[in-house]
Symmetry: C2
Amino acid sequence: MDRRQRKTREAIFQAFTELLGRQAYHQITVQQIIDAADIGRATFYAHFETKDYLLKALCEELFNHIIDTAMGHSQAHGHYTCGTPSDSVFLHLIQHLKENDRNILALLSSQNNEIFLQYFKTNLRKLIHTRFADQAACRHPDLPLDYLVNHISSSFVEAVSWWLRHGMRESPETLASYFEETMRTIL
Amino acid sequence: MDRRQRKTREAIFQAFTELLGRQAYHQITVQQIIDAADIGRATFYAHFETKDYLLKALCEELFNHIIDTAMGHSQAHGHYTCGTPSDSVFLHLIQHLKENDRNILALLSSQNNEIFLQYFKTNLRKLIHTRFADQAACRHPDLPLDYLVNHISSSFVEAVSWWLRHGMRESPETLASYFEETMRTIL
DNA sequence: ACGGTACCGAACAATATGTTAAATTTGTAT
DNA sequence: ATACAAATTTAACATATTGTTCGGTACCGT
């Protein structure tokens, strides 16, 4: 990819996330992004068809990265933590979030959370499915697998969301233990 | 309230919900609502300052009603079902949803679900708090009450959301039993 | 150094928003 | 039944945003 393209694309993402930290998504105008990124109007539309597509691209970059590293983590350490392999993944996810890459915490906690949590949830379902489906299904043969996967992943996202709402007072370990406790019967 | 006001307010709500069944909230314009409701432009703004306020008003009417009746139900039948008072409330909630008052199912399931689920969740937290706080806190003294309430209510909303996504194939009783099962340790 | 391509800047039509004013219809209280 | 009050209508208005177009400029990769 052309160097110029990378730079403006990065500038747009940068400006966009910075704006998202201050205002709700719906209230942000393309013009604001253009001004903040300091680019020409036509340039923006050369990169993204719409504000919605920009959001989508940002989310994909963000969550694909998070889920992928978590995926790698859980696989790499899988055979070292046979006893309770679950908390390992979730703890790593929380810790990774706390590193606040690209100011993701602001995006997840602010007025925009509905949008981002939706993406988060969707991506997480894949992880949970490949990682814990067998385990959960074995413990609850009477529940549909879909239902279980949905319950686990949405519960985790809601736990993180709760954590953010309350100013992240708990340590990642504590939060992970909270989550683990509510999932005791399931995982 | 003036009869004319009631009628136009109702017409606006009617048109709005009907539109929400077909398009996403953000894509709906005030003009569309005006046309569908067949009212003058100024009239709309005399009733609602903004599209967002209209949404808020609709949500409040919708969920206040649902939660209130559920609240009443649980209190009225409380002493008859001392054994498992929990499923009673949740089952009634699901059944009430299935009656599809004001086409609420379309709103919850369509592209707008994030918005409505958010309202649903918020209102449900109050119900859960006054109804199950003691019970849950007693079983999990080491978890913050906030966390528990959030977990229960969001799990229920996610269960309903899952149910809708899959075409409501299960009966309300079955869904309630699924939910009950995942909440076994907690409630 | 050269060809290609990404950027700029300005202008453009189209559309949506929210407000205002006067005229008209309707409700309600007496 | 009447009269006053209040809601609705219609049309016009300024403003803001969107997405596109085009000629010109600066930059990249080879």
